[in-house]
């Protein structure tokens, strides 16, 4: 394992410190406990948006703190959800009195830690709503499982709920908007090569030269199944089939197409995937109205990508287009 790090146990703290230095005009870093807030939080009258999760998914979530998106982000250790004693002060900082929406990716650890933090925040008089993101169609959703994971769709939830909060929507409306995005987005991912967690030192799984992991999440966990390597168009077909099979996009519907890199795959390859995905969607009569291509929800240096499709309506499109000013996503300002 070769990484641009110092002490493997200081990776998150040092990385967030660097992030704070690079984006001092946007964010403030609290170091103990560790969390990141948008400068000048809370915004008077605005519902606060807080997200977080294990580190290793950068730019998620800190890269989305700023106008029109998150008020605070809470990074855990690598691939480990943050703890309530980090989440609570972040939520308190984000609250202007209008309440706070917690955006939580659906993993047992994240759910439990945010749940505790929510209780503690409510005990301190903060109105809290929680939006659970669970867009990953690789995982079966049932009462008897941990349910679907939250993956790349989190970015879309944070952007659109963030825009709703920014335009002045109330607490329930912002949470409802987050849930609306979540129920209209599905994601499927693939890995060509595993990532290496700094404290573990070896790749999370081993793939032969002709193998890929299909249905991976963003924690370097093995995927749904292992299969033979295919070309980009073939892989794109499979990812998109899984997404559309679950989401059920009909001809004439408008969508946002999001090709997300896992961290170690060149941007040029993501565009090759985007190309075919856009062609297939067009072939099915869907209108790709908005796009996002890049490394937004990563798994360290994992090679691979995910495809997300979000069903758009006029309001979602308007909120997607609304100004955003964060380290990783910026327009209109």
């Amino acid at each position: 394992m070769k990484k641009l790090i110092n002490d493997p146990r200081a990776v998150v703290a040092e990385s967030v410190e660097g992030f704070g230095l690079a984006h001092a005009a946007l964010v403030t870093v609290s170091t103990d406990p560790l969390f990141i807030t948008r400068n000048n939080v809370p915004t008077a009258g605005k519902v606060g948006l807080v997200s977080g999760g294990g580190s290793g998914h950068e730019p998620l979530h800190a890269g989305f703190v700023g106008l029109g998106m998150l008020d605070a982000a809470v990074p855990g250790a690598v691939f480990t959800s943050p703890t309530p004693d980090q989440i609570l002060p972040a939520a308190l900082a984000a609250d202007s009195g209008a309440g706070v929406v917690l955006i939580v990716k659906n993993y047992t650890g994240d759910v439990l830690n945010f749940e505790t933090a929510a209780e503690l925040a409510e005990a301190e008089g903060v109105d809290v709503r929680t939006v659970i993101v669970n867009d990953d169609v690789a995982v079966e959703d049932s009462l008897y499982t941990a349910g679907r994971r939250g993956v790349a769709g989190a970015v879309l939830v944070e952007k659109i709920a963030g825009a709703a909060a920014e335009r002045g929507d109330g607490l329930d409306a912002v949470a409802a908007m987050g849930n609306r995005v979540n129920s209209n987005v599905r994601t499927m991912g693939v890995a060509l090569a595993a990532c290496t967690v700094p404290h573990a030192g070896t790749p999370s799984f081993d793939l032969a030269e002709n193998e890929i992991e299909f249905g991976v999440g963003v924690h370097g966990e093995p995927g749904r199944h292992r299969m033979a390597m295919e070309d980009a168009d073939g892989i794109t077909d499979r990812l998109l089939d899984a997404v559309l099979g679950d989401l059920g996009i009909a001809a004439g519907e408008k969508v946002l197409l999001f090709v997300n890199g896992m961290g170690g795959t060149p941007l040029s390859e993501l565009y090759i995937v985007y190309r075919h995905a856009a062609q297939v969607l067009a072939g099915r009569g869907a209108a790709v109205e908005r796009s996002l291509v890049g490394n937004y929800v990563t798994a360290l240096d994992m090679q691979g990508c995910s495809i997300s499709v979000l069903r758009l309506d006029d309001e979602l499109t308007r909120l997607w287009d609304a100004p955003v000013n964060t380290a990783a996503l910026r327009w209109g300002v």
Binding site: G54, A77, S81, T83, N113, Y144, R149, H199, G217, H219
Partner: protein, 209 residues
């Protein structure tokens, strides 16, 4: 009888076990999770040691509560809240007694298990730490009922049952936690949380030896 010295020795041995088994637990989690369980547990119990060096709790219950709060704020992931709840419920169960007798300890084990189930909603056979704690709590209760006051018997019964329970997770298909994403592929691997639970209950025996 289990006093605060035993409790502190136990927690110290837990920290030692987590440090020694850090890579083992990472390896288990690498197979069916995200390679962090050993790191999380090691970080958490090192923090417990640091806390114990700062404040010397006066009762077993106080030591368990300090452990609960520390694990809750340092472990993160699924294991942090689950172990945090387990230690918190155990602390409540033993109250502020200076010494804990076998029956009370067996009750504390049951309370810990119930806490894990209440938080995580896992059932036996879901391939989680519950599969170590449930047999441990039951064996502890049985030993306390039979053994008439021999605390070591309770501790040994719980540890052995937890170890057997952890091993018994090997063939299971996970239905809760991160390993459940693997579906059938999770079979053939030991659950990391069940393994760390067994280490914790084994340390309890060693602390009393």
């Amino acid at each position: 009888m289990l006093d605060v010295n035993w409790t502190i020795k136990w927690l110290t041995l837990c920290a030692q076990a987590m440090a020694e088994n850090r890579l083992y637990l990472i390896e288990l989690d690498r197979a069916i999770g995200d390679s962090d369980h050993g790191e999380n547990m090691d970080r958490g119990f090192q923090a417990v040691l640091e806390k114990l060096a700062e404040v010397r709790p006066e009762t077993p219950g106080a030591a368990l509560k300090l452990t609960a709060m520390t694990l809750m704020s340092k472990v993160g992931g699924a294991a942090g809240p689950l172990y945090g709840t387990a230690f918190l419920r155990a602390s409540t169960a033993v109250g502020d007694a200076a010494e804990v007798d076998p029956a009370a300890w067996a009750k504390a084990l049951v309370a810990a298990r119930d806490g894990i189930v209440a938080r995580g909603k896992a059932e036996s056979g879901d391939k989680t730490m519950v599969d170590a704690w449930t047999p441990a709590a039951e064996a502890g209760q049985a030993a306390a009922a039979h053994g008439a006051g021999n605390v070591l018997e309770v501790l040994v019964a719980a540890a052995e049952a937890a170890e057997a329970g952890a091993i018994a997770t090997d063939p299971l298909v996970a239905r809760k936690g991160r390993a459940s994403y693997l579906g059938e592929r999770s079979a053939g691997h030991r659950d990391p949380g069940a393994a760390s639970s067994a280490l914790i209950l084994r340390a309890a025996v060693e602390a009393a030896a």
